[in-house]
Amino acid sequence: MTQIYSSRRSENAWSLALRRLWRDPVGRFSLGVVMCYLVLVGMVLAGWLGARWNDPVAVNYAPPTWCASVANRVTLPAGEAWDRSSVIPLYGWTDPLEPLWSEARAAAQRIQPEPVSYRLTLLFGADKWGRDVGQKVLKGTQTSVWVGLVAAFVATFIGTVLGALAGYYGRWVDDLLNGFYGVLTSIPYLLLVFAVAAVFQQKGVGTLILILGLTGWTGVFRLVRAEYLKHRTREYVLAAGALGASHGRRVWVHILPNVSHVILVQFSQNLVGFIKSEVILSFLGFGVPVSSVSWGSMLNEAQNELILGKWWQLGVTTVAMAIFVTALSLLTDALRDALDPRLNS
């Protein structure tokens, strides 16, 4: 029998999907934007960018350069010189601490305090403590995206494992997990988040990730379960069983690659959702501690500033967040189109 093969190199489903994504202009553009952000996050994590976000470098509420017409820098006088006459009279007593004082004075004389120079304007302005909003937004982007990414990993992992077990094994496993799912989704989302936050009793990036991950897996669970329900009776799975593949092998080696596109789309949807949730949580004060900064904590500060007419922190944060979330949403849609096997011809 003669064989006809296509002359094309063999491609697996992933590279085909990537090619389809690349062919879609929206997909290509949004992928580019998201990649830029991820590179930025990597550079901040490595300490190359945004490391000095906590340093006061400008006068408080320094406006953005391009909308202020003042000199760019002010030098505050150095600390006042030591004046002996200001010392309280001691009425003949000698100060028992005099040797220590003189030592301290001598030390102080040796160090000439540099006149501190503060900027009057910054490219993106400054906050209440004179910190550079540009630096802050870099660091905040890193925190928010990192929290979203890791939390989405946790949630997708939990949802996939539970969904696969429920969908594949069915019966009491499915009943049990579905019951759990039902109880969890019946609680209002914010209430659930507050409850988990109350249990952890600790603010921090790790806590935030756990809160989002432990409450956000339900959507993944639902969809993965449905996919496994559908796939477990497919002929290729039955064939694997007839060839002697164990249940575990059928669940993780045979079916999982065939539902991975659903999981990937869910992951990116969760990422969008979690980044928004992080903002809401930080805004409500459940988010990152004061020693850190995120989009949410910046927006939280911005609400007070806005009353004073200092809009730049709000503006910069909003733009940074809006671009990323929009690009990610568009990428999710494009991914779904590229991966959907129903569109494959």
Partner: protein, 561 residues
Amino acid sequence: MNPLPLLEVRDLEVAFHQAGEIPLTAVRGVDFTVPPCATVALVGESGSGKSVTALSILRLLPESHARLHERSRILWEGRNLLEFSPQAMRTLRRRSMGMIFQDPLGALNPVFTIGMQLGESVRRAEGMGSARQVRRRTLELLAQVGIANPAARLSAYPHQLSGGQQQRVMIAMAISTHPQLLIADEPTTALDVTVQRQIMTLLRELQRELSMAILFITHDLALVGEIADEVVVMRQGRVVEQGRCSEVLVAPRHDYTRALLTCRPTLGNLPARLPMIDDQGNLMPARDSSSPRTPDPLSVALEVEGVSKSFVVQGSGWRRSRFQALEPLGFALQTGRTLGVVGESGSGKSTLARMVAGILAPDTGRIHFPGAGVPGRSGRATQVQMVFQNPFASLNPRFTIAQLLTEPLMLQGLGSHADERLALAVRWLERVGLNERALNRYPHEFSGGQRQRIAIARCLTVNPRVLICDESVSALDVSVQAQVLNLLRDLQDELDLSLLFISHDLAVVRFMADEILVLYAGQVVERGKAEDVYARPRHPYTQQLLKAIPQGIPLSSQGEG
């Protein structure tokens, strides 16, 4: 005869354009004519362009992708359809054309009753307002398409009807407009053979009664003889032969038509091997089989004793009831022989296959493989393997051919290391007519027949003694079907395989099987040697089944033959 034909297709060429890809020409220069009140059959295998031709007549092709060539003309009573405005086209479709499709359940809206859906098309067709008139006409139509007790059926939902009844409702909707042309796209392919016979009879009667033309699209040349006056045989977008049915079917001029007629097994003609069609559409004569097999009659490969199965079905609310899919049955399959299992959908034949393959556990009874040790769950895989119906679904799309073929070896602990397993895989791949270049490819790069051969190779890697074929050739085109059937017989001779061959197609089973088991609603109604059952069927159901097989003989020459 009317000088002006009802429909004339001239030089039809359709290409599909997809962004960033080379345009795909599906139909290249097709010409044919449908005279009024005649039946023209469009016959071809998958990819022949027959459905695209039908859709372009209806102008229902997606306009964003499909482009018709400027030369192409479709004349309806002399006027070019392609120049009609969308409005005029809609009117024409509504007034003069009717359509029925392969899958009636997909074409009916599941949330409306039969009465509502049929009533709506009646109201649109006749433009009548009164509910009583509509109801009377609806009942009349249902009676006309042979639905028993039509008044009771009006309030039924589509899923409450059987496949045959659904197709009858579709036909009723199509003829509600008194069309001049009925386009039937594979209307009986999804139906059982006895139901197919009923629908074919109904279409023939309706055509006479309503004096309409029918454009009948099918892959089954045998069916064409039952209904058509003229036949157009298509292959890869071209017409290879057309003419009067009585001439084409009796004395085909083109090699491809002859191949289509002969590479399908028939009840009367039982060669050892079937002729096949090569890639150019030429007929390759059947090879002579080697030596006739002389199986050892004492050796039994598979023994099934009192096996039965029932399923839990969800009733209303919390109630659950059991449905008996298979009554207790038993049989023995000898080494190197083939047991054919015949039955229509719902007869329990797939349940039986899955129990023997170890996919389902039987409720009662015992499945035993004599000559092997105690067959445990994992040991069973080396005793029995199964080739599934749909080669597009039975191969994991994310695995390469190498992974697909070496996995069973690895699972069964055959072959000491990866290279040895790969070498074994290549040997089987070559045995089924592919070569090692296939190893790093994915299933979607192969045609249906190639995939089914890969599936067979995968089963054989573990050297099973029994091979179950559950409708394994039903989804394949006739020419490919012949390849796979020949391959199965070759392998059986070579390896002394025992086959459990399950199909709804009685002619195919006759070609393959030494013994026959006829299943009806979970019960064995007849069993025996194949030649006896086919020559002298005792049970009325078997008789009915045999009578329903399309004979492929044109109507006009039926009396003479």
